[in-house]
């Protein structure tokens, strides 16, 4: 249970990190808290030639909040969000989701950017941030570009970063004040990776109703208009029932092999959680 040998470098700015990543031509990995990469290295599932420590880069713990939303640096930890050191008033769901990611000892080092780049379909941040229509800010050290998070992830454990690129920050758009969110994961023990997960954003003021199915065998399944499953825009206080056959069709099209029942339960509970707010 020891990793294969690798080199190590600590980058002090984005350009330096990008240069090292580019020179290694795909065999380098950026590391911050190492809570996803560490197990992969120890199990020898990842065998990079060099690790680039990006925690000394000031931009990566930078937070910027404006009317449109909040930009969260990639090296912000899950416990930073759990404890409210990074927060958005309209989205208390962020702290709730954070509290369910792994265990406290993991959250103290595990970063939001690392979780997304690791792109484990069973992780918590990916479906949540897909529901919130977050964007990934990708940099090559000189220029940056924005990519919708559901496009940033290209498959299970796969993201669209080119050699020489890294995730700089996540932009979370601000929903309206009356927006409701829900996230539910099915797992046998608190803190585990999900067997099935569902995330919901219901923002009546903006006419947004988005549902995400996580813990797939690939990218999260994003249902941009969740009326396809619920039939109508749920009203606050009213009981909501999802159309199981529509949900089943969706799951089949996504090619999921885990029991559909689990995913439907996760979705229904995420919606119930959103409604209960």
């Amino acid at each position: 249970m020891k990793p294969t040998n690798f080199e190590f470098a600590r980058a002090t700015d984005l350009a330096e990190a990008a240069t090292i990543l580019r020179q290694a031509a795909g065999s380098a990995r950026a590391v911050a808290g190492g809570q996803s990469l560490g197990p992969m290295l120890n199990l020898r599932l990842a065998q990079p030639s060099i690790l680039v420590d990006i925690t000394a880069i000031p931009e990566l713990t930078h937070i910027e909040e404006d009317a449109g939303g909040v930009t969260v640096g990639a090296c912000v930890t899950t416990s930073d969000i759990e404890d409210g050191r990074v927060r958005m008033e309209e989205l208390p769901i962020l702290a709730t989701v954070a509290g369910g990611v792994g265990y406290r000892a993991v959250r103290n080092r595990g970063t939001i950017g690392g979780s997304i780049c690791h792109a484990d379909p069973a992780g918590d941040w990916l479906p949540t941030l897909c529901a919130l229509a977050a964007e990934c800010i990708v940099t090559d050290g000189r220029r940056s570009r924005r990519v919708p998070i559901d496009q940033f992830v290209t498959g299970a454990f796969e993201v669209m970063l080119e050699p020489g690129e890294l995730l700089q920050a996540i932009r979370i758009p601000r929903p309206s004040r009356t927006a409701r969110c829900g996230y539910y994961k099915v797992c046998r023990k608190a803190g585990e990776f999900a067997l099935a997960s569902g995330a919901i954003l219901l923002d009546g003021e903006r006419d947004r109703f988005r549902a995400v199915i996580g813990a797939t065998q690939g990218r999260p399944v994003v249902v941009d208009d969740a009326r396809a499953i619920w039939g109508e825009m749920p009203q606050p206080g009213a009981a909501v029932r999802l159309d199981e056959s529509a949900a089943n069709d969706l799951l089949q099209r996504a090619g999921l092999t885990t029991p559909a029942r689990l995913h439907i339960t996760a979705l229904a509970r995420a919606a119930a959680q959103a409604m209960a707010q």
């Binding site: 937070i63 930073d80 050191r85 265990y103 000892a105 993991v106 608190a190 803190g191």
Partner: protein
């Protein structure tokens, strides 16, 4: 090989390590601090949990080179910590351990619960313990022990240690500079490689000697 300088139980340490050496191996193999246990080595079982900059973290998936400038506190370094003294007593009284393998990690997590979540109820204690596996006790005694110390703390019998303000980013990444609170830099000269190990061994020999001497006197 990379040089790494960090503080272990308030003693500055300089070591040269392979980048793939994780923190737990540095502590156990180089420094002789075997109180930090290793089992799953993938962050799931919690046996290797220790404090990095005062916060619980996994030492099996945290590489030593990532801890430049960090303050590491192992179970050995908490011998005189008031919360840990109370926890050790409670774990004994409530049968919170049997084989003892999970105990160092359990105690570190327990200390985090008592200091960070003084109002935790049984449900919360169990939730927070979900990252530490115990195969002997069934957790009942462990939960009772932690709740006993929580009650002591709420009754004011235990000095509440202040939770230090924290900057953003992974704990232990102090080379990133102080984004939030002060970073205290130790002015003590770093001890050369291997000497902490010697100090620990000398302390152990002394302890054994004193115990034998006590037995002889009886």
């Amino acid at each position: 090989m990379k040089p790494v300088g960090l503080t272990v139980n308030a003693i500055p340490v300089m070591e040269t390590v392979e980048p793939r050496m994780h923190l737990a191996d540095l502590l156990r193999e180089r420094l002789g601090l075997t109180g930090t246990h290793l089992r799953c080595e993938q962050g799931a079982c919690g046996a290797c949990t220790l404090l990095i900059d005062g916060q619980p973290a996994r030492s099996c998936i945290t590489y030593a080179v990532l801890c430049e400038g960090a303050q590491i506190t192992t179970i050995e370094g908490l011998e005189n910590d008031p919360v840990m003294i109370a926890l050790r007593r409670a774990f004994m009284a409530e049968h919170g351990l049997q084989c003892g393998f999970c105990t160092p990690g359990m105690l570190i997590t327990a200390r985090d619960i008592v200091t960070r979540l003084p109002d935790a109820d049984e449900r919360r204690v169990r939730l927070e313990l979900s990252g530490n596996l115990c195969r002997c006790t069934g957790y009942v005694g462990i939960v009772r022990a932690i709740r006993r110390v929580l009650e002591e703390r709420r009754a004011g019998a235990l000095a509440a240690s202040a939770v230090a303000p924290r900057g953003l980013g992974p704990v232990g990444s102090r080379h990133a500079g102080p984004p939030g609170g002060e970073v205290s830099v130790s002015t003590a000269a770093p001890i050369p490689a291997g000497s902490l190990h010697r100090a620990v061994m000398v302390a152990r020999v002394k302890k054994t000697f004193t115990r034998l001497l006590g037995k002889l006197r009886r």
